[in-house]
């Protein structure tokens, strides 16, 4: 029974919190949810399937750029067109990249994903079609038009849009990682030869995990671009690829909640340190990362979860 408390509690907090926050803080919450979704998506390939990809921003950025390009070149602001197309392009990109990258394994897989991601980066950097006039990147992307008469999104209602998609994605992934398919991914991470020998087409599992992960990264990328009003080549590049990796590792790989916790810590520490010591943010992040690895190797999320189970067990046994 108590096992559900953190979920219900977190859901309530997320729904109610905008009433207590400034617009700025609300934006921070939106940002947190977007990156939590991005980190969760990355966790599917790295945490569950055990594939260390260094090009995950490609799918995040592909989704984001699709939305931005539709606005820039075709003046499409309608959510129901640009968002699905964004996710579709991200998914197709993942399907292509995965097909190429999964010819290799281990460190070579990592290098190929890195190279493919940087290809997109350099494409958007060098080809004018991918930029607003006179810029590197596309600016002026408005909050999407939901086509509901008499209703236009503001930052608060957009927070709820993001929360909605985060919630749906969380539930889908929650189902996924507990399913025979999700457990098989863990089996493949642990011992691919074994899984092959008992009848699993391990290549197909890794490939579909890669594509599913790319699709969720695409959702995150689409939402991010609306939130950010601006998308640049950096959002496809290596620095952005590092973000979900760091978040997932910090929060706890191969757990559903870990990346969410990791993203939370990352986003809020980033925010505070950039207010109080703007030039020191990378140092703070580095320190935090090292401390996590040293003292909570399995991730902060796992650590917190254990604490909770301990407390709730204690509570339940106290009740008799």
């Amino acid at each position: 029974m108590l096992g559900a408390v953190p979920y219900v509690g977190a859901a309530l907090i997320f729904v109610l919190i905008p009433f207590f926050l400034s617009t700025y803080e609300e934006g921070l919450m939106t940002r947190f949810l977007v990156f939590a979704l991005f980190a969760m998506s990355y966790n599917v390939v790295f945490g569950y399937a055990g594939l260390l990809s260094l090009g995950h921003a490609a799918f995040f950025g592909a989704g984001g750029y699709t939305v931005a390009l539709l606005k820039l070149h075709y003046n499409v602001e309608l959510f129901w067109i640009s968002a699905p197309l964004g996710v579709l392009v991200a998914t197709i990109t993942a399907a292509l990249f995965g097909f190429i990258a999964l010819r290799a394994s281990g460190i070579y897989f990592l290098l190929v994903t890195f190279a493919l991601g940087q290809m997109l980066y350099s494409l958007t950097w060098n080809v004018k079609w991918f930029s607003s006039p006179g810029m590197q990147g596309i600016t002026g992307i408005p909050l999407p038009d939901l086509a509901i008469p008499g209703f236009a999104l503001d930052t608060t209602s957009f927070y709820y849009v993001v929360l909605f998609f985060f919630g749906i994605s969380f539930l889908l992934l929650y189902r996924l990682v507990r399913s025979p398919y999700g457990r098989a991914l863990v089996g493949i991470r642990e011992d691919e030869a074994r899984m092959e020998a008992v009848g699993y087409d391990t290549w197909l599992y890794k490939y579909t995990a890669f594509v599913i992960s790319g699709a969720f990264a695409g959702i995150a990328g689409v939402l991010f671009t609306y939130y950010n009003f601006f998308v640049s080549p950096n959002h496809l590049g290596i620095m952005t690829s590092f973000l979900p990796m760091v978040m997932a590792i910090m929060g706890g790989l191969g757990t559903l909640l870990g990346p969410v916790v990791g993203a939370g810590v990352f986003i809020f520490v980033e925010n505070f340190s950039s207010i109080y010591f703007p030039a020191r943010w990378p140092l703070v992040l580095g320190g935090l990362f090292v401390l996590t690895i040293m003292f909570a190797r399995e991730g902060l999320g796992v650590y917190l979860w254990r604490l909770w189970t301990k407390v709730s067990h204690h509570h339940e046994s106290a009740k008799g």
Partner: protein, 255 residues
């Protein structure tokens, strides 16, 4: 019909010939052991039969179906189960997880994405039942790495059998086992039904002579003898190879 038929099978690594023009067939229900000194090509031969890597030449027929080009996971669906030389269970997962994953491997439900694995009642019950018969029911929530070596081997072979294979490939099942654990494994193999064909590679001659009805001796990738245990024991060339390598011994290759 033969359970397995291998024709002119060859495998080269670079310029080195690991398996050289090997041909043999295995009757359904037969217990066949493949022995030979280290580097004779036994494990390579196993890997070829089990689709671990492609052949250089020759053909493999499994129940008269040409499976030469099929990957391992397809062979699992056709009824090949394998226990590896080094125990290949998922060490960081629980005993039950291992059972569930193994049993799902050859069922269509292995691709299901939106139902918890525990809700597939038939597979779940089968997993629990299998663990009970292996005397591991009470350890179902333990991580495999915390099991004793003998228990791991029992689980590995037991799960292999739970896949209801037509051909069981045992690659050094006695490796790392104590005497008693070895006897345990021999017992399991002897109890198998006659519908299961067993192909066995082992250094432990006690295991081989106890279990096998027929023995093939490999040397430098070629078959140099093929016969009953008695015939093999009496074979002069076999004796020479083993004596030359391992000195004296009452029967070939005694450890």
């Amino acid at each position: 019909m033969k359970a397995l038929r291998v024709e002119d099978l060859s495998k080269q690594f670079g310029g080195v010939s690991a398996v050289n023009n090997v041909s043999f067939s295995v009757e359904i229900g037969e217990r066949l052991a493949i022995i030979g000194p280290n580097g004779a090509g036994k494990t390579t031969l196993f890997n070829l039969i089990n689709g671990q890597f492609p052949v250089t030449g020759g053909r493999i027929y499994f129940f008269e179906q040409d499976v030469t080009a099929l990957p391992t996971h397809r062979l699992a669906h056709l009824g090949q189960a394998r226990a590896f030389q080094i125990i290949s269970l998922l060490q960081n997962l629980t005993v039950l997880d291992n059972a569930l994953l193994t049993l799902h491997g050859t069922k269509p439900s292995r691709f299901k994405m939106f139902r918890p694995v525990e809700h597939f009642k038939d597979v779940f019950d089968q997993a629990i039942h299998t663990l009970d018969t292996l005397d591991l029911g009470e350890k179902k929530d333990e991580l495999v790495k915390n099991l004793a070596h003998g228990e791991q081997r029992r689980l590995e072979i037991g799960l292999g059998l739970a896949m209801e294979p037509r051909l069981l490939l045992l690659d050094e099942p006695s490796a790392g086992l104590t005497k008693e654990e070895g006897v345990d494994v021999i017992g399991i193999i002897k109890k198998l039904g006659s519908d299961i064909t067993v192909l066995l590679v082992d250094h432990d001659m006690e295991m081989v002579f106890e279990v096998a009805e027929r023995i093939i001796v490999l040397h430098y990738g070629e078959i140099i003898a093929d016969g009953t245990p008695e015939e093999i024991q009496a074979d002069q060339r076999v004796r020479e190879i083993y004596m030359g390598l391992e000195g004296n011994g009452d029967h070939v290759g005694a450890r």
